[in-house]
Structure formats: C-alpha cells, structure tokens
C-alpha cells in the first residue's frame, strides 16, 4: 500500500495581529483505500489540516508529499493541476455552481482536465450521478434540488476525475439525519466499492465511530491516531 499523503511536522500559523497557530507539528501518512475521520472540538484545526492536505493552503513549516511528490516547490498552476487530478473536495455546503445543471457541475472538472471526449464525459457524469441515486435529477439546477441531493451532486463532482483521494469537510454538517445517513453511506461506498481514500472532517462521533481510522485533534495537535474496531469488520 503506497502512501497518498505523507506529512511531516506540518505547522500553519496565521499571521494576524496576534499570531494564531491553526495546525501544530502534525505528522501523518495516509494510504490507499482508507476511511479516515478527523475529529476534535471546534477550533482544533480540523478543517485547516484538511485544506493543507488538499493543497488549498500552504503550511508555514514542515513538509508535505502528495502522491509521492513534494508540494513545497510546486507553483500555483501545478498545485491546481494536482487538485484537478489527484483530489476531490466535498464541503459542508454543496458549493455547486448555481448556473449549471447537476450534470454540467460534474462535467466541469472533467472538461478542465480534458482527458475524455465530450460524449464520454457526458456519459460518465450521468453514470456517477445515477450511481449516487440521482437518476431523474441529472439536468436540474442546484436550486431545484434538495439539500441532500445537492450534497450528493457535490460528491459526484469530487469523483469526476476519478481521484484516489476525497477530502470532505463536514460533508453531513448541514443535512438532516436521513440525508446525512444517505451521504455517509455514499462516502462509505466510495471507499468500499471504488477503492478510494476518504478523509472526512466531522464532529459527529457516531459517524466517526463507523469509519476505519480516527485522527483526533486538540489545539492543532494530533492527540490520537487510532484504527477503529469497525475496520476489522471488513
């Protein structure tokens, strides 16, 4: 099992009037086909860590390797390219582009990458959306979908370019219990059936308990990094 992400002594300090340390000396390795929960109290640096791993933010110090490549010397364009092909994001809010239909939202990352022909992109987008239970809603715009449906479109978009790693920031945080369960099941299926790695920030300990590995953060530091019993179930 090769490592998707290797982080050593990652530290992120915000230079405001008073320097604020968001992430403190974090070292971890994330491999393929893992299902990881990042937990911790509010302000413990869960999301900040996720953004660092997702190349959306740069660490103040420490080294980060994504897919075996050192992220430090990468330029802005190169990091964008990594996000495009290696990573998929799901946020607490769906963050779909409001003017585009569900299918177009899923197609946009594919078109940016440009690996497939247009008809194949269309077919693939429809296929992903249908596999997430969105048949019949493919050509609807985000404002015509329910919250749970939108979040499922967001997951479909994260899967568009078939990246090995999905980063989710409170993916169920703004959903009701039923939709929340649905989205969780989908993320679980992404790991179990598609063989991806999902790293999900959550404050829902019940959900976290159903994942394979839990990284617990307190004040920006890793307090616990443990494999959970559920992992043995599989």
């Amino acid at each position: 099992m090769s490592a998707l992400i290797e982080a050593e002594n990652l530290t992120r300090v915000l230079h405001e009037t008073v320097p604020v340390t968001l992430v403190m000396d974090v070292s971890l390795t994330i491999g393929e086909n893992e299902f990881i929960a990042v937990t911790g109290p509010s302000g413990s640096g869960k999301s900040s860590l996720l953004y660092l791993l997702g190349l959306l933010d740069r660490p103040t110090s420490g080294t980060l390797r994504v897919g075996g490549r050192d992220a430090e010397p990468m330029g802005e364009g190169e990091r964008a390219g990594m996000r495009l092909s290696m990573l998929g994001f799901v946020f607490q809010f769906h963050f779909l582009l409001p003017e585009f239909s569900a299918r177009e939202n899923v197609e946009i990352p594919m078109r940016k990458l440009g690996r497939l022909s247009r008809p194949k992109m269309r077919a693939r987008a429809a296929e992903i959306l249908e596999s997430l239970g969105l048949e019949g809603h493919i050509d609807k715009r985000p404002d015509q979908l329910s919250g749970g449906q939108r979040q499922r479109v967001a997951v479909a978009r994260a899967l568009a370019n078939d990246p090995p790693l999905i980063l989710a920031d409170e993916p169920t945080g703004s959903l009701d219990t039923k939709s929340s369960e649905q989205v969780f099941r989908i993320l679980e299926a992404v790991v179990r059936e598609r063989g991806k790695t999902v790293v999900a920030v959550t404050h829902d300990l019940d959900l976290a308990a159903r994942m394979d590995r839990r990284i617990h953060l307190v004040d920006g530091k890793i307090e616990a990094d443990e494999s959970l019993a559920s992992a043995e179930k599989h």
């Binding site: 933010d57 964008a80 996000r83 990573l87 409001p98 946009i108 940016k112 990458l113």
Partner: protein, 413 residues
C-alpha cells in the same frame, strides 16, 4: 479556453436580471456619451460655420499694412522729414482686372470684386446710413452671404441691370420702404441717385440687415465718383483652413492688405479654443461618470462571484483561468452594452436633431439643434465602455483569484 468561454456565457445568461441591469447600465453610459458628444461638437461646428460662412475667407482691401515710405528715406540712411502731408490718394486697387485675372489663375475657390462706399439711403424723409456695396452679380454669387437669404424679391433681379438695389429687411423697416419702392442713395461725395428696391434679405446679422445696400458695381462707381475703381476683393476658398496661406501670397504679390478670416476674428477664435476645452472636459466627464457606472455594476457582479472563484479553484482551476473568465464576462457585458448603447445613442441623436425651437429675440427664426454625426463618437464611447468593463471584470477577479480559497470557503460557512 472553450470551457472558460462556455462558463462565461452560462454565467451571463444564467443571471438574466443582473445581466440586463449591467447591459442597460453600459448602454445608458454609451448612449448618453454619444448624444452629448454629438450635441457639443455639433454646437461647435455650427458656431464655426456661422462664423466662416458669413464672411469672406480672405478679404483684400486697398489699404497697406504700413505707411508708404518716402523715397528720400530709402536712399539716405539718416533722414528726418517733418511736416509732411501725404499726397491725396485716389484709393482703390490699382489695375483690378489684372489682379483678378492673376487670382483666377491659382486661387482654389471663388472671388468677387466690389466697391464699398459710405452713403445714406433716403426714403420719404427718413434716412439710414449705409455701406453701399457695388458688386458684379455674376461673381458675387460665389462669395455673397446674402444670396440665399432673401425674404422678398430675388438676388437675380440685380443681374437684369438698371438702377436696382437690394437692402436688408431691417433697413427697409426703418425706412418704411417696401419691395418696389424707389429710394434715393446719397454718397459721401454728395451725389444722389434713385434706385428701385428689387429684393430684401435677412441674414440674421443685424449690422448687415440694417446697414448694407447692394447695387451694381457701375452704379456704385458713379455714386463714389470713381469710375472703374474696385476697393475690395473677397475670396471664398474651398477649404477655409487655407485662408492664411492664400492671404500671405496675395499680400506678397499685390502689396495690398489681405486679411484671412482667422486674423479678422482672432478674439473669437480664442473664445473657440476655450469652448473646445470646455467641450472636451464635459464629454470626458460624461464618459468618466459612465465609465464609473459600468465599473460599479460589473465589479459588483464579480464580487458576488468570489465564492464561485474559490470553488473553481478548489476544483483545480488556476488563478489565470479565473482572471480570464471574469475579464471575458466584463468584455461580453461591455460589448452587449455598447451595441445597445449605439442604438440608444443613435436614437437620442436622432430625437435631438428633430427638436426645433423659436429664437425668442426676433420671434421669427426657427432653429434646430446643431448635431454632429460622427462615427468617432460611437467608437470612442464604446471603447471607453469596453475598457471600463474589462477593468471592472479583471480587478476584482484578480483579487478574488489571489485570495486563498480557504478564506472564502470559511467565510461562507
């Protein structure tokens, strides 16, 4: 790039009302800039035209620029002559036939000789001082400001010969004379002669309408006791801007004072420069205000899209993609607005050109607004709008693209 283009069009089309407002904003800015520029420049052109049309472009008179030098002064270095009284000069342009023939050889335009004499026009006991102008009706047609301005009678009636006169309508009013009446002209030499009024003109220039009387050249020469004399040659050029050059050449060759219209109206032209400055300032101010309006609308839209910029960056779009996207959106809105603005501007200018009003002072002159139709106005106005729109799309997009997407995503949650 095609993807960026498609996203730009979807953005624009997807926000119907906002896009409409932005396009109307640009259109109003462009349209009003065009209309104001047309009005300002029209007024300017009209002013110059009035000025240039009512007077000859070059006027050759029988005066000389400086007093004639005494021969003794030319020969001896140190000479003082006092108590000198110049020889009585029979004023007039010497050998006018040769001078006119010489002018005919090269002047790009038309010219006419005349004899101007001071006199009085008398009718039933009333007298009005007048400049009696003796003209040659054939050549006068080419230079005269009165030919097309007749309110009664006709300029052509002068051509028929005989003792005919045309005067301004104001003079006729003051004399109490009407078309067909016989008036008496008295010259400063004391000679009198009766003339029948065959035409009344109204040019709008009071001095001319009240103080000029036109007769045949021969009649004026008789009245002034100067047979065959001509004391003025008026030249109308095809291009009024050549007047100074023509005047210089005429003066060098004939030795008489030749005055270009620019020289005769120096004070007015100075005022014109000031008007020009005012005009360009006003037009630039209108464009600037319109530009700010356009900037405001488009940058607001771009700001609202800051979240989309963050999302697209997280999906793997680079900063350059985002800048191009919003620059493109600004330009598309600018182009759309310009197109409508052209239509609006054209409509406004057309409407303005239809406006007619009476000049209250005289109560009889119908005037329309002077309008300059110029493609340049359209190009400048839309160029300005496009530039503002592009800047308005680019600057906020650049800021949003540079910003860490995390800050925007965090701000939204």
């Amino acid at each position: 790039m095609q993807l960026i283009l498609e996203i730009a069009f979807t953005h624009i089309a997807g926000r119907g009302r906002q896009t409409l407002v932005a396009i109307i904003g640009v259109a109003v800015g462009v349209g009003f800039s065009i209309a104001m520029a047309a009005l300002m420049e029209g007024g300017q052109d009209d002013f110059v035209e009035q000025l240039v049309n009512t007077m000859p472009h070059v006027e050759v008179t029988d005066e000389e620029r400086s007093a004639r030098r005494q021969p003794a002064e030319a020969i001896f270095a140190v000479t003082e002559i006092s108590g000198l009284r110049p020889r009585e000069d029979r004023r007039g342009i010497i050998n006018p036939t040769a001078a006119l023939a010489w002018l005919g050889g090269w002047v790009p335009g038309r010219f006419a000789p005349s004899l101007n004499a001071q006199g009085v026009v008398r009718f039933s006991g009333r007298e009005v001082g007048a400049a009696i102008v003796g003209i040659d009706p054939q050549s006068e047609r080419g230079v005269s400001p009165i030919v097309g301005e007749f309110v009664a009678g006709d300029f052509a009636a002068l051509t028929a010969g005989g003792n005919n006169i045309v005067i301004g309508d104001t003079m006729a009013e003051r004399l109490g004379a009407e078309l067909g009446d016989t008036v008496t002209a008295v010259s400063s030499q004391g000679l009198t002669r009766n003339f029948r009024i065959v035409g009344l003109f109204h040019t709008g220039t009071t001095a001319r309408d009240e103080g000029e009387a036109y007769v045949l050249l021969k009649n004026a020469q008789i009245l002034a006791e100067r047979p065959n004399a001509v004391n003025k040659i008026r030249i109308k050029l095809d291009d009024p801007n050549q007047a100074p050059a023509v005047a210089r050449r005429v003066e060098a060759e004939l030795g008489y004072k030749a005055e270009a219209w620019q020289e005769a109206n120096e004070a007015l032209l100075e005022a014109l420069v000031v008007r020009n400055v005012i005009m360009y300032t006003v037009v630039a101010a209108i464009m600037l205000v319109a530009g700010f309006g356009i900037f405001n609308i488009i940058s607001t839209i771009t700001h609202e899209k800051a979240r989309d910029i963050a999302i697209m960056k997280s999906l793997g779009f680079a900063e350059g993609d985002m800048r191009r996207l919003f620059l493109l959106e600004g330009v598309v809105i600018g182009l759309g607005g310009s197109a409508f603005g052209w239509a609006l501007g054209f409509g406004l200018v057309y409407a303005l050109s239809l406006v007619r009003f009476e000049l209250a002072a005289t109560g009889q002159e119908m005037t329309r607004l002077p309008i300059a139709w110029s493609l340049l106005h359209y190009l400048i106005a839309s160029g300005f709008a496009l530039a503002s729109a592009a800047v308005a799309g680019y600057l906020p997009a650049r800021r949003a693209a540079r910003q860490n997407p995390v800050d925007i995503i965090r701000g939204a949650t």
